[in-house]
Subunit: 349 residues, 2 copies
């Protein structure tokens, strides 16, 4: 008795374990583990020998056993509002690809901008075992932050740049981008402006964009009556509805600033449906720089956000963090204004 471990008492999974590899290679299990994970701790020839035996036996370490004893899962959670918007799907793709390169898997959850659902999903992710968590934006129930701190799970906020926040982040300045866009519109000469903002109630990114718009308008002394601003959650359909509402209430507007490209595409479609020519009759601009918006006719003026790059930076930051090294508290992703054919000076009258 005593040696009743793997290699004897196994059947369900016909898989080989460290003990099998150890026996076959004529070494101890510790050596096998070290040869595979801390190669510099064993002699080169032994390392090669163990590696070849392991390969021959088709050895795959059991991830659960590894996680249990090492206390690392090599899994990272990402809690994303919705991947149906390509701003997030591109991010997730890049994040996943880069994480894999460092040996991490991505566990994805989405909550469709529902705060309580986000909390539930976060709880579930934590209970499923993750080394770190990615969250979108800063605004959420403090309980979630408490949970993560209590469980000592590092986390990173994305899509938002907050150098003064207690939380780490990798993101961009939503307010500044929207301000730059609004200035651009104002400098084209527009003064009768409509705003089709995002779902500002629940989304700090959307709110910051609205703030940027307001800042620029104020700077130019342009006022925004309540009839010239409306909000919708992000969808092409809502973009159409939103523009329709604005045009009913304020047909004199010459430009519409949209909370993102999806709303802008909707607005563009609605304008076409109403026989308005863009940009001659109405200028439209968005935010995010989605590929599809860049291929619209006319091309939609937007603030380009390099989300794939944000995914890379996020992954790198997390990997560094989990390796125990220091990493910047906040990383700024640069955005840039991309003028397109959807904006032009207002028709002179």
């Amino acid at each position: 008795m005593g040696k009743q471990l793997s290699g004897s008492g196994r059947r369900a999974t016909g898989s080989v374990g460290v003990r099998d590899v150890a026996k076959a290679a004529g070494v101890s299990t510790a050596t096998v583990s070290r040869a595979l994970n801390q190669p510099h701790q064993v002699s080169e020839e032994l390392r090669k020998h163990v590696a070849s035996v392991a390969a021959e036996l088709n050895y795959i370490p059991d991830p659960a056993a590894r996680a249990l004893s090492s206390q690392k899962t090599f899994r990272i959670g990402a809690l994303i509002p919705t991947i149906a918007n390509s701003i997030y799907s591109r991010f997730v793709e890049a994040l996943q690809r880069r994480l894999r390169q460092s040996g991490y898997s991505l566990v994805l959850a989405n909550y469709d901008f529902d705060e309580s659902l986000e909390m539930e999903e976060a709880q579930a992710l934590v209970e499923s075992g993750i080394d770190a968590l990615v969250l979108a934006g800063e605004q959420r129930s403090p309980e979630l932050y408490d949970l993560l701190n209590r469980r000592k799970i590092p986390y990173l906020l994305i899509s938002i740049y907050l150098p003064d926040s207690p939380h780490r982040c990798v993101g961009y300045d939503n307010r500044a981008g929207a301000e730059a866009m609004t200035r651009y519109i104002l400098e084209l000469g527009h003064r009768e402006i409509g705003v089709l903002e995002g779902p500002s109630g629940i989304n700090d990114r959307a709110r910051l964009r609205t703030k940027g718009i307001m800042d620029a308008l104020k700077d130019f002394g342009v006022t925004l009556p309540a009839t010239r601003i409306t909000g919708r959650s992000f969808s092409v359909h809502n973009g159409r509805e939103g523009l329709a509402e604005l045009l009913e209430a304020a047909p004199e507007i010459t430009a519409v600033i949209c909370g993102n490209d999806v709303l802008a595409i909707g607005a563009l479609m609605e304008a076409q449906a109403r026989g308005l020519t863009v940009p001659e009759d109405l200028s439209i601009c968005g935010y995010d720089g989605l590929d599809i918006a860049q291929d619209m006719v006319p091309q939609i003026t937007t603030v380009h956000v390099p989300t794939a790059q944000m995914g890379l930076k996020t992954a790198e930051s997390l990997v560094t963090l989990l390796s125990g090294e220091e990493t910047p508290h906040s990383v700024l992703i640069e955005t840039r204004l991309v003028p397109g054919g959807s904006t032009a000076p207002p028709r002179s009258r």
Copy 2:
């Protein structure tokens, strides 16, 4: 000595373990485990007692330990070409939501239609520990199927319906849908038809759609010269390029059948950029039924695929399968033709 397990020798994670709960509740670890996982095996009052103690201590079972001893990870992998196309992102969202309801997490990987990358990612997913895997389409290296069979990891193919395949699937009939669409175009009176197909080389769904188109054309005795068919990978930009190519080579065409809605949107944009009126000058149709295509002006005629429903069915099938029960080998997702304003009879001349 002997009782040196959790509750004494722990510090790194200040977390409580079964042994702590057991001690606090005055029962054995087995009872705790059973009270929490097989409630019917313990008396109701004990169950409640254990549950309350566990809640009070804020007990969260270690997922790695659970996975190690139970040989179930409660994680499901999904290997998706790209979530940047909302046909997949909607699917993934629904899949994840439904899986969570049954206690499973979703581990996501994407491979951008690159077969060798798919194999790598699959390997990594398997090594990361999953109970089952979701794959898109059937066509891939047999090695991948071998790997899964060897590791006894159940898998499910999506986006494709193959009652005769050895593999389980939840999907729809790509060929039939495309055939129906083509018939619709033909019945409108079009005979000068262009085809803008998907990346048929690497994608069995795209190939089946092309086959459906060809079947219908043949049925109507319409031939398709090589100049009237071109292929592109799925993007709006490629849709524009593709239509440009077709119009250069065959300006006489009155309708273009596209491999999916994304290409169709691109074609629509290109038509507009060229001053062609859709559908009067050119009819355009797509496939998938993306929201955005439904909100285009004109609305794009398409074959609607209920991907969210496919996500639900996929999740349910997997959960059933993993619970040991039987589940249908193949599940058909019904699609339907949705006529829009982007198609009309050809201009009579």
